[in-house]
């Protein structure tokens, strides 16, 4: 183990260097650019054996990743925001072809208006594409999640692509203390990827991505659902094994001071760090508050989350993206829906926050907790969907 100073982008690039994938295909986009810039230096310096394919768009990047994965390679890439949007068509194809591609996604607001700063509209928009979504709170977790993602994606029961998200600029460009494993430890942890199929295996010719009509498409989609369901156990097992190796175990979420909490909030990404500080401060004032830091958004850990909410008096969801015309943001919709039919009549409020990189401070999150405390006292949620820190 070594302790180094790394930005989030550096941390993912470092994990990629240690994984040493067969193929990487990528296109630069802010704030992911430095991640791939760093990795391309490793390629140029001959430190990795990766074939780096420089393409003319993200659509081509994901297409090249799918082709390389179909050939049986271990494949990685990274993107942000509109780059992910341009991959859209291919995201679904990667998942349905069961290509275990690992992608760093540096969260950035989707245009428009044009904006380069953090929110989760990019990855949340892709939540139905069939990818596993792992959120990271800081550079350390961006590193840890990237290594685990390789194992989760390539598990023979799963074989699904994984995106590891890190908040644009807030994590991607902030230098932090990061503990990294030795190269040989990473090599042992991720192991060799032995793909069941390879398009280059001329002695066992196969067809990938064929036309699939009304008579088989539905069955293949059902089989894909099963891969996502199987991922639940694999994510936990890999998180435990990683914990044995590093002392940092991972689960679907971190339940922080939830044991006797009456008021709690859920947050994803870097805001969870700020929220943890708020919880400590409010606890010091005698308030029974807690935090759920959600790490795995797909597959969504509904049963485990509902169990955590049973003893609460009110709950706040922090959504760093909006779902226009829907009942609340993506995280709110999931959690409120998960509670239905569980004998849980818990007041839940949604805070849409931080869009386009709007700073979300300690005081902002403290306000979330104090307003949720009022909801607990009255038992009423006068406004289900609130917009945190937006000017009237």
């Amino acid at each position: 183990m070594k302790i180094v100073g790394l930005t989030g982008n550096d941390a993912v690039a470092e994990a990629m260097r240690q994984v040493n994938p067969d193929v990487v295909a990528a296109y630069p986009i802010t704030p992911q650019t430095e991640l791939m810039e760093k990795f391309s230096e490793f390629v140029s310096d001959g430190i990795v054996k990766t074939e780096l394919i420089l393409v003319e768009s993200e659509h081509s990047a994901m297409s090249a990743c799918i082709g390389a994965s179909a050939a049986g390679s271990r494949v990685m890439t990274a993107t942000s925001a509109n780059g992910l949007a341009l991959m859209w068509e291919m995201l679904y194809i990667a998942a349905s072809c069961r290509c275990p591609i690992v992608m760093g996604l540096v969260n950035r607001a989707l245009s428009g208006p044009i904006n380069i700063h953090c929110d989760h509209s990019d990855s949340m928009g892709a939540r139905d594409a069939g990818w596993i979504h792992l959120f990271s709170e800081n550079s350390q977790e961006a590193y840890d999640n990237t290594l685990q993602a390789v194992r989760i994606a390539e598990h023979p029961d799963v074989l699904l692509p994984v995106m590891v998200t890190l908040d644009g600029f807030i994590i991607s460009h902030t230098l932090e203390r990061v503990e990294i494993l030795e190269d040989d430890e990473v090599r042992r942890f991720v192991g060799e990827f032995n793909s069941k199929y390879s398009l280059l295996d001329l002695t066992n010719p196969i067809t990938m991505g064929p036309l699939d009509f009304h008579d088989f498409y539905f069955e293949h989609k059902r089989l894909q659902v099963e891969g996502m369901e199987k991922a639940r156990g694999v994510i936990r097992d890999v998180g435990k094994e990683y914990g044995t190796l590093t002392g940092r175990g991972f689960d679907y979420f971190e339940a922080y001071r939830m044991e006797d909490a009456e008021i709690a909030a859920v947050a994803l990404g870097s805001s969870a760090g700020t929220a943890r500080g708020v919880v400590d401060e409010l606890r010091s004032r005698g308030k029974k508050v807690g935090l759920i830091k959600l790490r795995v958004f797909r597959p969504f850990p509904k049963d485990q989350i509902v169990n955590l909410l049973r003893r609460l008096k009110a709950f706040a969801v922090m959504d760093r993206s909006n779902s226009f015309g829907a009942f609340g943001g993506p995280v709110f919709s999931e959690i409120r829906s998960a509670c239905y039919g569980q004998g849980l009549d818990l007041p839940i409020v949604d805070y849409i926050y931080g869009l386009g990189g709007r700073d979300t401070t300690f005081e902002d999150i403290e306000r979330v907790y104090l307003e949720t405390e009022q909801i607990a006292a009255s038992g009423k949620v006068p406004e289900d969907i609130r917009f945190l820190n937006v000017r009237e």
């Binding site: 349905s96 072809c97 069961r98 290509c99 074989l159 069941k196 199929y197 010719p205 196969i206 067809t207 990938m208 991505g209 064929p210 699939d212 008579d215 088989f216 069955e219 293949h220 059902r222 089989l223 099963e226 891969g227």
Partner: protein, 102 residues
């Protein structure tokens, strides 16, 4: 189709086709509007139709054209168009005017 199709648990992940060349068993000629009719007496087996057919539906035996695979022929009419004989050896006829294949 009376044959039982496999359930999702029996399928290969990702829609992979593990057996090469099994499209031969997948009937795709059912939506043909026009059917090529071959006159073996006129045909010289020049094989231009065989070269041009986009669906490998011209049947050959020992280098001679013996018929048309109507389970896969889509009725595009390229074979009839490319037949070099002035008095064509393949002509297209509306399916509704033809006898049923089966």
């Amino acid at each position: 189709m009376s044959e039982r199709l496999p359930g999702w648990k029996e399928l290969a992940m990702g829609g992979v086709i593990e057996e090469a060349g099994n499209a031969e068993r997948y009937e795709t000629g059912s939506w043909r509007v026009q059917r090529p009719i071959l006159d073996k007496n006129k045909c010289t087996s020049c094989l231009l139709c065989w070269i041009f057919c986009p669906d490998s539906s011209i049947l050959l035996e020992n280098g001679k054209v013996t018929g048309i695979d109507l389970e896969h022929c889509k009725g595009c009419g390229i074979c009839a168009r490319e037949c070099p004989l002035k008095d064509k050896a393949i002509v297209m006829r509306l399916e509704s005017e033809c006898e049923q294949v089966k």
